[in-house]
Amino acid sequence: MAGWWKRHPYYLWYMLREASCVFITAYALILLWGLRRLAQGEGPFEDWLESLGTPGSLAFHALALPVVLYHAWTWFKVMPKTLPDTRLPAAAIVAGGVAASAACSAALLVAVWWFGLWSVP
């Protein structure tokens, strides 16, 4: 069974799905760290914001974004298998989930942008 995941592209995509959780965790930790810096005051928070702009951080985020998008897609892709039996066709469940998450992300982006506009001194 050694190297079984190299036998078929399907397995490779599965392994990538499982590995994507590492990036999700890293994302979450970076955000949590930002929250902690925010609690410590404006200076530390500004430092944290600045650290996000370093080349290393930009490289990580450039890689993490597609991986997290792939993770989100696989999450909805398996949804028809994990939900209790419904009359909805599987494709509708997947499409609905992807659409809902895209809408939530867009709404969040707009809200942050809006809030940013108003909070500028």
Partner: protein, 248 residues
């Protein structure tokens, strides 16, 4: 039009061979010939010692599952023309011991199948009736899963079964669900221990390839994963009401 295709078969006669090897045959074929018919041509005209299973040659008996170029498929439903001018490599289903050439030993699966009680544990009919009637919606709850006839392609597709042969596996768990989901059945309490064990539904990591290769669109991954929910509910039920009498 007759063309010629190269079919490589895995050969292994445990009494004489130290280990399995591939043997190639040049087989003339027409557009309507399946991989199974290719094997039959070899057996009839080129090499009578080649061993493989088949019966219905119309995708309903479940005998002819093989690895065709590394993918679990039914030999009788896969056409040679798909591979020409390339080669077809036919091997026995992955993860099972070989009895001889392409024939595998299914005993492990059969024991697991038996453990899930794949039959109706009859519920007493309502008072005054002598039979359990079933509404069309009640039939829909299990119909899809009842189409499983043990081709075992899903076991060959399941890396978890390959890594841990104790895993109950897709088809047995699907048939377990088929009977649990049947409104006429009273065997749920007897089957839940199989669902709940480490090697029951929790052995599945939702790779999902089993559903992909299933020729009858049974969707075993769905049956298995719905039972993760059932198993969790069962756990909490026992946790909250340890002395509750088991109902079906």
């Amino acid at each position: 039009m007759t063309r010629t295709i190269r079919i490589e078969c895995l050969r292994y006669h445990p009494e004489t061979d130290a280990e399995p090897r591939l043997q190639a045959y040049e087989v003339p074929f027409t557009d309507d010939m399946s991989v199974l018919q290719g094997l039959q041509y070899i057996k009839d005209h080129l090499d009578g010692s080649l061993t493989f299973r088949w019966s219905c040659r119309m995708a309903i008996c479940g005998s002819c599952g093989q690895m065709v170029n590394g993918v679990p498929r039914l030999g009788c439903e896969t056409f040679l023309r798909e591979f020409w001018p390339g080669t077809v490599r036919v091997e026995p289903l992955e993860h099972f011991p070989i009895v001889r050439d392409l024939a595998i030993d299914q005993s492990d699966f059969l024991a697991k199948l038996e453990s899930v009680k794949p039959y109706l544990v009859q519920k007493a009919p309502p008072a005054g009736e002598n039979t359990n009637l079933q509404a069309p919606e009640e039939m829909q709850a299990y119909y899809r899963y009842s189409k499983c006839i043990n081709y075992l392609l899903c076991y060959a597709a399941c890396p978890q079964y390959g890594l841990n042969p104790a895993f109950t596996g897709p088809a047995a768990l699907t048939l377990l669900h088929r009977y649990n989901a049947d409104s006429r059945d009273a065997g749920r309490a007897q089957r839940m221990p199989v669902v709940n064990q480490e090697d029951g539904v929790w052995g599945c990591t939702l790779v999902g390839y089993c559903s992909e290769v299933c020729p009858k669109d049974v969707d075993p991954a769905r049956a298995v994963n719905q039972n993760k929910v059932n198993s969790t509910l069962d756990y909490f039920k026992h946790f909250l009401f340890p002395r509750a009498k088991e109902k079906s």
